[in-house]
Each structure stands twice: as C-alpha cells, then as structure tokens.
C-alpha cells in the first residue's frame, strides 16, 4: 500500500472523527454557533479529501454515493481489514 494512500486515509479518518464528535455534541447542544461553523468547515475539507482519494484509489462508498470511473473498482482489495 503506497504512502500517499495511507497518508490521505489518515487525514480522512482524523477529519471524519472530528465530524463524528461534533455531530454527537450538537445533537445535545444544537443552539451553539461555533461547533456548527467548525462542522461545516470540516465537512467541506473532508469532501475534498474524499474526492481526491476516490479519484486515485476508487470509491469509498457503494449504493450511488460515489461515482465510479472506467470499471467497477469497488470490489478491489485491500478491504479495510486487510490493511
């Protein structure tokens, strides 16, 4: 597995984890403005990193959530538990 891929994956995990934390927080504290601003900034950055990852290494999601170029690379190994 090449280094660029592992780096990109790590960045995606970090950003997505922040988004998970903010989601839980805002579920109980929806009235606060700062977490919402953080969430939107993170969501945008996350989307651009996931786009970049998918262009290089294939779709991250099935069921119409990611577009897939050329051939159905969704089934390509490694799966997450093989890394």
């Amino acid at each position: 597995m090449d280094r660029r891929r592992m780096e990109l994956l790590r960045q995606i995990q970090e950003l997505q984890f922040a988004a998970v934390e903010l989601t839980l927080f805002m579920d109980i504290h929806p009235e606060q403005k700062q977490p919402l601003a953080d969430y939107n900034r993170i969501a945008e950055h996350l989307r651009s990193l996931m786009d970049e990852y998918e262009k290089l290494y294939g779709p991250l999601m099935p069921f119409g959530q990611s577009t897939v170029e050329n051939r159905w690379s969704w089934t390509d190994e490694p799966w997450p538990w093989q890394l």
């Binding site: 997505q16 099935p62 069921f63 969704w74 089934t75 390509d76 190994e77 799966w79 538990w81």
Partner: protein, 190 residues
C-alpha cells in the same frame, strides 16, 4: 465505517393499526431468518471471504439487510402506535406488552429473544455461502407466510418488496458460490 442515511430504502406504510400483524412481523425483526440475523450473518462472514468480489457482496448485502431491518421496525412501530390494550390482548401480544410496551425488541413472533445461535460463520466460504442461500430462501418463505396473514394493501406492498429482495440476494449468493468454486478449482491446479 458506516454512516446512517435518514431515509428508508423503500416506503413502509400501513393502512391501519394491527397488533396481530405487528406480532407476526417480529419474525423478520428478531427471528432466526429475520433481517437482524441476515445482516449480522453476512457482516461477520465477509472477513474470511476469499476474493474482493465476495468480500464486496457480503458487505453490500449485509448493509442492505440493515436497511430492511429498519423497514421492518418502521412497519411494527406503525402497526403498534395507536393500537388499544384490548387489541393487544386479543392479538396474544399481552406478554410482549408486559416486557416491552410498544417498544421494538429483538424477538421472533413467539417472543423468543434473538440469539447468535441463529447464524453461522464456519470459515469455509463454500459452506458459508450455502448457509446464506438457505437463509435467503427461508426469509422469502417467511415473507410469503406474512403476506398470507393480512389484507392490508400498503403492508403487502412493502412485504412484497422485501420478498423480492430475498430472491435477488439468493441469486447473487449463488453466483458468488460459483466464483468461489472456480477460484479454488483454479488454485488447486498448482
């Protein structure tokens, strides 16, 4: 990882409250061949599938089964929401009411709680895929039994959709089994 999508895969409507059908639908919620069993069966077997294609198929069907679990839960919720205590007693659902009121709990139609003993994960992909094909047929039969028990057209429409999905899953598992057998036949040449 998984992300929740705030919508059903297919509409789940009912024409009227019906405690009897709610109780029977538990068969596909926490029963042996229900949607919880299906999802957990495929999502645990996928790790030891031998190829990218079969890992993908079990991941994707396992995920779709979670969506079906949500549809069944929605149907049971709607069937139970406005039902009276009298109707609950008449439906033979008083025991369920005592433990769970109108809440969703993983039991079969007879109140037997879900158990991991309903599923298998043998580490042999040929064996596991045979179990999966059998499970899909049992789920299809259960949906046919459920459809026979009601005349609610909205409920029947959703149950027919779920029945049809079992047929498709069976077909895909059958194809996966062929791929796996070819995979091993090819390997054993060397």
């Amino acid at each position: 990882m998984w992300i929740y999508e705030k919508k059903l895969e297919y509409p789940a409507k009912v024409s009227r409250p019906d405690a009897k059908m709610a109780k029977l639908l538990l068969a596909q919620y926490g029963g042996p061949d229900g949607e919880l069993s299906a999802a957990l069966r495929y999502l645990t077997q996928r790790y030891t599938m031998p190829t990218g294609k079969t890992k993908a198929l079990l991941t994707d069907i396992g995920t779709e089964e979670l969506a079906h679990l949500e549809i069944i839960a929605t149907l049971i919720y709607k069937l139970m929401k406005d039902v009276s205590l009298e109707e609950i007693k008449e439906a033979g659902a008083a025991g369920y009411y005592i433990h769970h009121d109108r809440a969703l709990y993983y039991t079969d139609a007879n109140g037997v709680p879900w158990t991991a003993a309903y599923i298998q994960s043998m580490g042999d992909p040929v064996t596991d895929l045979h179990e999966d094909m059998a499970a899909e047929q049992k789920a299809r039969t259960t949906y046919e039994h459920l459809i026979q028990m009601t005349d609610d057209p909205d409920l029947i429409d959703t149950l027919r959709f779920l029945r049809e999905r079992e047929v498709v899953h069976f077909q895909r598992f059958g194809e996966a089994l062929n791929l796996v057998q070819e995979h091993y036949a090819h390997r054993h040449v060397f």
